[in-house]
């Protein structure tokens, strides 16, 4: 698994190539890219992403390990950006490589659902009018994470 927290943007093609380099057993790669989305009703200047150095990387590695326990994965990539990110910018990349598509797609969905609810990141919205607001956790994210019934125990924030 590859786990990374960085302020710089990522290159999807380079990350895909790194995941499959030298392998002949990968049949498919599930992919999710999260992007900063503007809201026309309340224009956004930027999101600022904060994390807990050390714990964040450990939590991401635990989430990836759980995915590898549940599915037959040949590798996965979890990459999350921090700092100031403007609308249109990439925030997060999840890749899951497997012999077959179902495991690749399901594992990618699982990884982003758990990443949103179990890795210590916090988003602050900075609006074009100068106002700022910390994003509140969404019940829908908890529901999305909960549909992957929790067999790990002890990880839930």
């Amino acid at each position: 698994m590859l786990i990374r927290v960085q302020s710089a943007d990522f290159d999807l093609g380079a990350e895909l190539a790194a995941l499959t380099a030298g392998r002949r057993d990968v049949g498919g790669i599930g992919c999710f890219v999260g992007v900063v989305r503007d809201d026309p009703a309340h224009p956004l200047a930027a999101l600022t992403l904060e994390h807990y150095p050390g714990m964040t990387e450990a939590a991401m590695a635990a989430i990836a390990a759980e995915a590898e326990r549940r599915w037959n994965l040949l590798g996965c990539t979890l990459l999350h950006r921090v700092g100031r990110l403007e609308p249109g910018a990439n925030i997060v990349l999840v890749l899951a490589a497997a012999p077959h598509r179902q495991a690749a797609l399901d594992a990618a969905a699982f990884l982003i659902d758990w990443l949103k609810t179990r890795a210590p990141f916090w988003k602050q919205e900075c609006f074009a009018d100068g106002a700022t607001r910390w994003v509140a956790a969404r019940a829908g994210d908890d529901a999305a994470a909960a549909r992957w019934s929790d067999q790990a125990g002890g990880m839930c924030p």
Binding site: G34, M55, A119, W122, V135, P157
Partner: protein, 84 residues
């Protein structure tokens, strides 16, 4: 001594990102430490107004309010996570 870290709006309201403090002798859990910090000063009162909105970690593992805290621990307080 314990190390206490604050993140996101807890950091802003507490007016600090981290501090070292002597664990008060009668404080043994995360929840008791949060209540003690709330009662300590106005910044603590602002940060810990609603304990239901606050999550915690001990030594970089998520920890419920009844999790033990002992000397040497790193305890972090933060809002529910919103990454991804």
């Amino acid at each position: 001594m314990i190390r206490v870290l604050y993140f996101a709006w807890l950091r802003e309201r507490a007016g600090r990102a981290e501090e070292q403090l002597h664990l008060p002798p009668d404080i043994a859990t995360v929840g008791a430490l949060a209540a003690w910090l709330r009662a300590r000063d106005p910044a603590g009162a602002a940060a810990f107004t609603d304990l239901k909105l606050i999550r915690a970690a001990v030594n970089q593992h998520f920890a419920p309010p009844d999790a033990p805290v002992t000397d040497g621990d790193e305890v972090a307080f933060f809002p529910p996570v919103t990454g991804g």
